[in-house]
């Protein structure tokens, strides 16, 4: 097996690992309000009412 093949396979493995690491860290940074409070949804209600009014 040539050096290049060796290098490529190693690069793929390490590249995948790095990519996964980045993903894990990014995912933990995101995490927005998954279940918003009811009160804040009242604003959306307003939009709905306007839609109906049209």
């Amino acid at each position: 097996m040539s050096f290049i093949v060796n290098f490529l396979i190693s690069a793929v493995i390490i590249g995948w690992a790095v990519w996964q690491l980045v993903k894990v860290i990014q995912k933990s940074k995101k995490g927005k309000c998954a279940a918003c409070d009811y009160k804040c949804e009242a604003k959306k209600l307003a939009v709905e009412a306007k839609k109906k009014a049209l």
Binding site: I9, Q20, A35, E41
Partner: protein
């Protein structure tokens, strides 16, 4: 695209129906509050989307998960509403149906669990119900997959013009008068459609919090000015009574004598034992002990050992031979054999144990025992200011902390929900299981299940003590209300248990290919290289350097091995990586060899102290993320990281030093 939304009371089988209609699988269980998020699926080969929603009792939500369902109705477009009702508790289920019907969207009522109604010897005339509620009524048994195909055909056939419902209930004249007046005012001055105005008025009179604040925000004066009058006249009671009377008369009219009742009341018989005032708690512990016996002694471990023998023996040697034959350089060979096969493979051999545990949890979830466990634990939980319901998220946390924390949404009081979220990470999740398994095999071979049970119990105890402290700090006393429905037991269905087990377990396999893979490669790289380049002796590598620098810090809790310390660092990525890291760092060919070398590196006391530290220290990234998401602030996520580290250190310190004083070693 046509959107069909599934509404209904909690635990009426919405998710089971969703799975039947979409031929998919979503998380099911037998207690109120299994579904805490909306889920969307498609009916195969059509453009029909089905939305599964958390259960609600009325459109006025008390909890976060209920708010999701109500919000969906108010803010998102649905073409058809399917109201899933528990046929044997129609009186209360139809209260929600009326609210949904008044909303005016095309509606189908599915009388689900029709089999248990028939077992009670009751049946209802469909025509009478359809006329009374001006909508299609279908009889289904989603669990037994009966009537679900007809329902699907009905939904597909009726589209696109399933008639909108014109259901309108006649309220007492004073209410009726007030509604008329409000509708007039709203349509004239605020440009709202009369149907919507009417619904808004009824909900406002019924004191729906969300609608009240909406009305205030928009200063809808026709309603606001009348609010004191509505209140003084007890309109909400009148509306409720009218609805209830209507339901009762309709049901009386629709009721037909069915076949002879043949309830062999199994539920009552089982309950006589498992909810026994004195035996309830021991039975609960017994069930968990049995779970660990199955996982560690009878079933999981023997299979894992077989798998390990294969991975560390034939697989590892064969791959090594191939790589040599193919001319792979030492670097690549070591990466694959010493890194990936040892690390990732070493974690994957725990599949049998983890799946056994998941199968047990799925069985508990499907049977209906969870609600009983909550009941039995209520007295204990009330001592720390929580209620029995908070125990369900904690049990789910034994599988994985992330869904456990999500399940806390069903708790009514915000402070109790926050406390439950904060104590959930101390529940010993399945990812910590591989490391327990390794250590109990090395040090406590005779009492494997008992030692593991002790760790689980320790997790619960720490969580409860913390809850008590939080209760004092956050002043959440006297807030607690405890009400829990005890559903009928279900005979476990193998397909549902298998799907449930697979659904939980596939996450573990997925992690093996992603985060555990990444952690393994990272640790392999750090141990292959050192400050001076490629190292021949691992004790000169970066990992050793990092680990060594922290040894003094961990000496008081009995940790002298830099390998174990490095493993804990990678464990924050995902707890499974702890095992993988140890495998890589000890350069052993598999479980058995690692178990043998561990015995020289730890004393049993130090090993237990290490396990306790692993149990309690910083939760994994995914859990930190979900804490942030559910509490809505980084503050709590950060707090969790710091507090768990302090607590883990403190408890293992006490155990190790205390053990030494007692003459253990």
């Amino acid at each position: 695209m046509t959107t069909i939304a599934l509404f209904g009371n909690p635990n009426t089988g919405k998710t089971t129906l969703f799975n039947r209609l979409t031929d998919s699988y979503a998380y099911m269980g037998n207690w109120s509050g299994v579904t805490v998020e909306k889920k969307v699926g498609m009916i195969k080969n059509t453009n029909f989307a089905i939305v599964d929603l958390p259960g609600i009792y009325s459109l006025n939500p008390l909890t976060k998960d209920e708010a999701i369902a109500t919000n969906f109705l108010l803010t998102e477009d649905q073409d058809i509403i399917v109201d899933v009702a528990n046929a044997s508790q129609l009186k209360r289920n139809l209260l929600l149906s009326i609210e949904l019907l008044e909303f005016g969207k095309p509606t189908v009522i599915a009388l689900n669990m029709i089999d248990s109604l028939r077992n009670m010897g009751i049946s209802y005339n469909r025509q009478v119900l359809e006329t009374a509620f001006d909508c299609k009524v279908m009889m289904t048994n989603a669990r037994g997959n009966k009537g679900t195909q007809q329902l699907k055909q009905e939904l597909l056939a009726e589209d696109p013009r399933l008639p909108a419902t014109h259901f309108s209930l006649t309220y007492p004249s004073s209410v009726q008068q007030a509604i008329k007046q409000a509708v007039r005012g709203l349509t004239q001055n605020y440009n709202v459609s009369s149907q919507y105005a009417k619904w808004l008025a009824i909900q406002f009179m019924n004191a729906n919090d969300a609608v009240v604040s909406f009305v205030k925000q928009h200063n809808l004066r026709p309603l606001l000015e009348q609010a004191p009058y509505y209140q003084a006249q007890h309109f909400d009671d009148k509306i409720y009574q009218t609805r209830l009377n209507y339901i009762e008369t309709t049901l009386k009219e629709a009721r037909e004598t069915g076949s002879n009742p043949h309830t062999r009341d199994i539920t009552a018989k089982i309950d006589r034992v498992v909810t026994h005032p004195l035996l309830g708690l021991p039975i609960f512990l017994g069930i968990f002990f049995l779970m660990f016996k199955l996982t560690f002694d009878w079933f999981g471990t023997p299979l894992s050992d077989l798998l390990d023998a294969f991975v560390s023996g034939p697989l590892s040697t064969t791959v090594n031979h191939w790589l040599i034959a193919a001319g792979a350089l030492p670097f690549l060979r070591s990466l694959i054999v010493d890194g990936l096969i040892t690390g990732v493979g070493g974690v994957l051999v725990f599949i049998p144990q983890i799946f056994t545990l998941f199968a047990c949890i799925s069985l508990l979830e499907d049977s209906g025992y969870m609600a009983r466990a909550a009941l039995v634990m209520d007295k204990l939980m009330s001592k720390v200011g929580l209620n029995g319901k908070a125990f369900i998220p904690l049990i789910i946390g034994f599988g994985c902390n992330v869904p456990g924390i999500m399940a806390a949404r069903t708790i009514e009081q915000p402070k109790e929900r926050l406390i439950t979220t904060l104590i959930s990470p101390y529940m010993s999740c399945s990812a910590r299981l591989p490391i327990y398994s390794l250590f109990v095999a090395a040090f406590f071979a005779k009492n494997q299940a008992l030692i593991v049970l002790s760790l689980y119990v320790l997790g619960i105890v720490v969580a409860l003590v913390l809850a008590k402290i939080y209760q004092k700090v956050l002043h959440s006393e006297n807030e607690s209300v405890f009400m829990i429905e005890l559903p009928e037991y279900h005979l476990p269905q193998p397909t549902i248990i298998l799907r449930g087990t697979w659904d939980k377990g596939k996450g573990f396999i997925h992690k093996a290919g992603t985060v555990i893979f990444a952690g393994t490669v990272l640790i392999w790289l750090l141990s292959y290289f050192g400050p001076s380049g490629v190292v021949s002796n691992i004790s000169n590598s970066f990992t050793a350097l990092i680990g060594h620098s922290m040894v003094p810090l961990f000496a008081p809790i009995g940790l002298a091995s830099w390998q174990a310390i490095s493993a804990m660092l990678t464990g924050i990525l995902a707890k499974e990586t702890i095992g993988a890291t140890l495998m890589v760092l000890y350069h052993t060919s598999g479980q058995t060899a690692l178990v043998a070398s561990l015995a020289h590196l730890f004393t049993p006391l130090a090993a237990y102290s290490f396990l306790v530290f692993i149990l309690l220290y910083i939760p994994c990234f995914a859990t930190i993320a979900v804490i942030k998401a559910e509490t809505g602030s980084w503050k709590w996520a950060l707090y969790t990281i710091i507090s768990s580290l302090v607590i883990a250190y403190l408890v293992s310190f006490l155990i190790f030093q205390g053990g030494l004083l007692l003459g253990l070693h």
